[in-house]
């Protein structure tokens, strides 16, 4: 086990490489997903807020706006 972590004396370099790679890739993934969720929430909120106005405009045709987002 000790041997595994020391990586033949190169442990610092090897683990720093893998650690940083994992950190950067996870951070980018998480921030991308969070940003998508929050934008989708904003979109849903705006759409709901504007629904009465839209309905007034299109009284004859009651098209519920298909939400594919």
């Amino acid at each position: 086990m000790q041997d595994f972590f020391s990586m033949g004396g190169y442990g610092t370099y090897v683990w720093a490489s893998y650690g940083l790679t994992a950190l950067v890739m996870l951070a980018l993934l998480v921030s991308s997903i969070r940003s998508l969720k929050s934008t989708e929430a904003t979109f849903a909120r705006l759409k709901q807020a504007m629904a009465p106005i839209e309905n007034q405009k299109e009284q004859k045709t009651e098209i519920p706006n298909g939400d594919e987002a």
Partner: protein
């Protein structure tokens, strides 16, 4: 409505592909990391430090792959004005920049014990650093104009001009003397690497690629939703 026909189809496809990309990423990383650490042997010259290769090389490949994708998207956006092309280019840039950054840093961490230096200003390392600056320039230009269309156009032109750098990176180790080793996987004679090292390297490279697809789809969906929000806000402001 026909303008949204394509993006709608894209969103449908994205919904199918995204879970596949996610699970492939998880599985490929699982197997790839296991092989990188447990089944692949230490190098006869470099010892255990050779394991840095399994993140360094895929990161560098993907740094270049993403740039090529960004340049193609930019060309499509400039020539055909396809709305998805802009979105794809913009969504790719931060991912490619992250890969390029990682290839530089892990290269440094590998260079220190093997070459005795963190950095040298030779052709391979310098052209890779320029790649990072191109990504940063692209992202900066996107946001530099009040008119978003002008920002997209300016950055697309930068991406195309900067594509000249890609062959320079690839052949830098052949054209100039370099501390960096030459190509050992993508060569005219085929891979020069033993299978025990080639397999984990290729698996990790595929893991990086499916990760890119996953993040790309998430970021494109975010960008497209943000565009819809912008349209709604405009409608709201004008009371239309």
């Amino acid at each position: 409505m026909h303008r949204f026909a394509n993006p709608t189809r894209f969103l449908r496809i994205a919904a199918v592909v995204q879970p596949w990309a996610m699970w492939l990423t998880v599985i490929l990383f699982g197997v790839g990391l296991y092989m990188s650490f447990f089944t692949s042997p230490p190098d006869y010259q470099q010892g255990e430090s050779v394991r840095i290769m399994y993140v360094h090389v895929p990161a560098a490949w993907m740094g270049m792959f993403c740039y090529a994708a960004m340049a193609i998207a930019s060309a499509v956006s400039l020539i055909w004005k396809h709305p998805l092309a802009d979105v794809a280019g913009k969504a790719t840039a931060p991912v490619g920049a992250a890969f390029t950054f990682l290839s530089l840093v892990t290269g440094s961490l590998w260079g220190k014990p093997m070459w005795g230096t963190w950095w040298v200003w030779d052709a391979r390392l310098t052209s890779m650093l320029i790649l990072l600056f191109l990504y940063i320039g692209y992202m900066a230009l996107q946001g530099a104009f009040d008119d978003r269309a002008r920002g997209a156009k300016a950055s697309a032109i930068l991406a195309l001009v900067g594509a000249v750098n890609l062959p320079i990176i690839k052949f830098s180790v052949t054209w100039w003397n370099s501390l960096h080793q030459g190509s050992s996987v993508i060569t005219m004679e085929g891979p020069k690497m033993d299978a025990s090292m080639l397999w984990p390297l290729l698996l990790m490279a595929f893991a990086f690629k499916t990760y890119y697809v996953w993040v790309l789809l998430v970021r494109m969906r975010q960008e497209m939703t943000a565009n819809k929000v912008r349209i709604l806000r405009l409608k709201q402001a004008h009371g239309v």
